[in-house]
């Protein structure tokens, strides 16, 4: 072991914010989008392409969860309340990752409540311009959906997350709604805990 070099395990975990240049991330994300299209095998459908982006986002979400929990002051135990965890994602996680806040909406449906995390202008895909024939069917924000899925899975609230572009007036709005469908046992558990 070379003397004088600090072991990485001896160094303190950096607390506080570290910012990354948006351009650097944009180039990285652009490379990720192109990579997922053609590797390891050419994606045969837009759905496969989105699933690959989802998988990459999932890996990020799982790892980022512990980091952000560690950096959040005043958190000393695992969050077990569903709504509070979602609120924490919408505020703290989005602030740590993208320096802004998302919105949380709840839509009641027959099979149980569905939650939406809405971001009016997602930074990850800021520079992506979908060609006209893709714009209705492909969204690179599948990466964001995977990110959320990873966060939720890591915190023991497994769910299926999909990203949809919300553009009711056709104005070309880039708003993204991430639809969170919790697994049934999660919702049942939340009801039991609430009683």
């Amino acid at each position: 072991m070379p003397k004088g070099l600090p072991l990485i395990l001896d160094r303190p975990i950096p607390k506080g914010k570290s910012e990354v240049s948006l351009s650097a991330f944009a180039f990285l994300f652009s490379a990720i989008v192109q990579y997922t299209k053609s590797s390891p095998t050419p994606a045969r459908s837009l759905t496969t392409w989105e699933e690959r982006l989802h998988a990459i986002g999932y890996g990020v979400g799982i790892r980022v969860l512990d980091l952000i929990v560690f950096r959040t002051k005043g958190v000393d135990s695992r969050e077990t309340d569903l709504i509070r965890f979602l609120t924490w994602i919408q505020t703290t996680v989005w602030k740590a990752m993208f320096n802004k806040q998302a919105e949380l909406k709840k839509v009641s449906q027959d099979g149980g409540a569905v939650f939406l995390i809405c971001d009016p202008d997602p930074i990850v895909s800021h520079y992506v311009c979908n060609p006209p024939d893709y714009s209705k069917s492909f969204s690179s924000e599948a990466y964001l959906a995977g990110f959320l899925a990873g966060l939720l899975d890591g915190a023991e609230f497994p769910a299926e997350v999909t990203a949809h572009n919300y553009d009711p007036d056709g104005t070309g709005s880039r708003e993204i709604n991430c639809e969170i469908n919790f697994k049934r046992h999660v919702l049942q558990r939340a009801e039991r805990v609430a009683k």
Binding site: S23, A26, S30, A31, Q34, Y127, V128, C129, S140, G172
Partner: protein, 145 residues
């Protein structure tokens, strides 16, 4: 910010192999059709290369920068990557270099789009992005009051 009524008339972007990547007319003047623009861009690319060699000090020459004619002026800005940004302006316009540098910045954002394909020899396809057009609109409003 230009104080006089000098205006920027049109903008061309030529990639490093001489192919026209983008062209736009700002005053709705009688536009040349695309094929004519492609040919002219290729010819200018060749002339630009020749001009570098004509210089008494070819290693230190950046090629044609300004082309003055009776009815207009034509400016060329060559980036480090070989992409040429060309614009034609009113004859009274002084120096379009600042404008072209602004366009270059907007162009750099185009390259962040995964759907803008650049092949192995570094040649890009024509730019067809709403975002680019919008950003250019914003920029041109500063220069064409």
């Amino acid at each position: 910010m230009s104080a006089s009524k000098a205006n920027i008339l049109s903008l061309w972007i030529v990639n490093k192999s001489g192919g026209l990547v983008y062209n736009r007319d700002f005053l709705g003047s009688k536009a040349l059709d695309t094929n004519a623009c492609l040919k002219l861009a290729g010819m200018f690319h060749g002339m630009h290369a020749i001009s570098k060699q004509l210089s008494p000090n070819p290693a230190d020459c950046s090629g044609i920068e300004v082309l003055e004619a009776e009815g207009f002026k034509f400016f060329c800005f060559e980036s480090a990557s070989g992409v040429k940004l060309l614009c034609s302006t009113e004859p009274s316009f002084h120096n379009a270099k600042a404008f072209l540098e602004g366009v270059y910045k907007v162009y750099a954002d185009v390259l962040k789009d995964p759907f803008y394909v650049i092949d192995h020899s570094g040649i890009g396809q024509p730019i067809r992005q709403d975002r680019f057009d919008r950003k250019l609109d914003q920029l041109i409003r500063e220069w064409n009051p």
